[in-house]
Symmetry: C2
Subunit: 397 residues, 2 copies
Amino acid sequence: MSVVLTPEEELRNRIDRFQRALKRKGLDGALIAQNVDLFYFSGTTQRSVLYIPQKGSPVLMVQKSLERAREESVLELIEPIVAPRDIPRALRTHGFESPRAVGLEFDVLPVDLFMRFQRALPSVSFSDVSFIIRRLRMVKTPFEIEQIERAVHVVENLLHKAQSSIEEGVTELDVDGLIRRWARSQGDQGRLRMRGWNQEMLQAHVLCGETGAVPSFIEAPIGGSGTTPAIAQGAGHKRIRRNEPILVDVGAGINGYLADATRTFVIGDLPEKFYRAYQVLQEIEGLVESEARPGILCSHLFHEALKLAEAHGFGGYFMGFGQAKINFIGHGLGLEIDELPVLAKGYNSALEEGMAFAVEPKMVFPGEGAIGLEDDYLVVANGVRKLSHFEDGIIHL
Amino acid sequence: MSVVLTPEEELRNRIDRFQRALKRKGLDGALIAQNVDLFYFSGTTQRSVLYIPQKGSPVLMVQKSLERAREESVLELIEPIVAPRDIPRALRTHGFESPRAVGLEFDVLPVDLFMRFQRALPSVSFSDVSFIIRRLRMVKTPFEIEQIERAVHVVENLLHKAQSSIEEGVTELDVDGLIRRWARSQGDQGRLRMRGWNQEMLQAHVLCGETGAVPSFIEAPIGGSGTTPAIAQGAGHKRIRRNEPILVDVGAGINGYLADATRTFVIGDLPEKFYRAYQVLQEIEGLVESEARPGILCSHLFHEALKLAEAHGFGGYFMGFGQAKINFIGHGLGLEIDELPVLAKGYNSALEEGMAFAVEPKMVFPGEGAIGLEDDYLVVANGVRKLSHFEDGIIHL
């Protein structure tokens, strides 16, 4: 397998769109420092700060490794620096004498790095461009869709492997470990990214019976016990038993791009309630699939889904229980798992062609467990195209 | 396996020490928000902000999940909040009317969350306490040492498994996948943490032949190709061949606490140069082992190690090559892999009893590969105690 580099026209197109946004905001440029945004605009995650001016060529200022940054990025202006204090010199070298208004990623940039930027560029006024970047990133190119489709393929293989390995008596951790191994054997990138503060994405959530209903800090309808309060999510020591729901939510990453899918398995059988609830989840996914198209509001899809769950009497269990309930039913897919758009209460933006998202209707029954399904979609001209095709329904093992 | 909660006297002791530090700095209190620091002081990582006053009981203000935070933390004052804007009300409820000088974790706190704290508490002057927290955390209690020893045990088992599974023709990814699986089957927590900005720790670096010498952005002497520039480190698609060095650097986490070890394997044989270089690494580790004790400066150990590498003519390859060279030979072990102390150039603090650290002398030969070893130590009254006991030397398979 050869390494896939981000093509030049891809970077040029991203930078062009961002430069237009900078112009609209009246900014002279932006300093990009977070790994994912850096990768999006430069094709490398080598330790760097990328200056994207409103007009002209961006300057990639590299701390480590310069050699590797030059191999990975097709950007022309690549400049070594030792620390942020060298930024003004590097900018002057390329004709950017004295920017006055510069954007930063306020949602992820640590305060002390921000202060170092302020000391290096004392006459600059900084403002937040993180939402602009996240909005740019939400519409995918054919190159990006290809990467996501490859990740979807891996995720489906991981569900197949889970299906063939879940047995009575094995622990959640056993299945989780197998998924992690298989992921790597299929070229999974080895780390999946989530942007939100303190959010820490795991490759899989394998949760059986009552652990499916253990709430957690993460921005997700399910959490899991984990093995310790230090990492309070995901698989734990619980053994899989007959006649309880087994929820497997897996992610994978190829060339930076993520996919995400969920299925519910059972050994034996479940009380009737779970089957009825699962039918509602299928109806909800079907509703999103039929209604989603360019122009429709994300919040509308969320409310329609919630209404449907409530109409069937499952409103109280839908997307979590009690205080741990969340207000979204889907999220964008891309370089981060909490990418825009979110199909969420209050997210009143419209879908656009080229957006990719996961729909993940789930129900949580306290003390009993969680059930759910999750599939990945691409917004096309007149609707959505389903990217994942794993068999649906509660899957009997 | 039952869940290990952080004992009450453990939290009380940590908070006491922090409160004394706050007093010395003239701060009224600190707001702790990052997962790891939150876990250290409260025993939970549920989405919260923890106010530790200079005097009195801390207040854990929980966003999600309140129920789980109450189960995991033995702190008495646990208060639900919806957002940072509710902090003043929660503090007033417990008698903290108007703090004026409050510490924050500037090294990890994102700018926008900082600004939300500023808006919620407009009359407060904020300053950085992250280094104080990191310094507090570096001296371990018997409870913490027990967790680290459990993680060391897992790491040694992972090296054994790597030893028994490496074969000619398997890929770095295959071995990495097996290590990930085995880690989970031994109760590894599933995610290992690194504090530094943009640093992303992987469970293992399995690097054979020339990929051992591929430089990377991470704060480590070795990097690896990875599968993509998006995650530019760790195992890649390269197949393991005879007569090349195979470096396996693995981490594991138990109840939040990490351990880290490295060994070098070979199928067949290596050029004489590698054996000579490896002997130098063993000498260096031996030197650190014999010189490390309470009172010795960390920077001194680094310089002694570097001098020894140079005296043997390996200075140019020691701890990386060219621009990717790093200036440390060891790092603290605890809740994060880049914990204090660092045995580094310029880190002029002395070792203290109770510190735990990994020593990782490595050599990188461009185009040929990397060799290294790494063991974990605890500082005791009159020296150090070695925690890891895996066989040493270049290990023939």
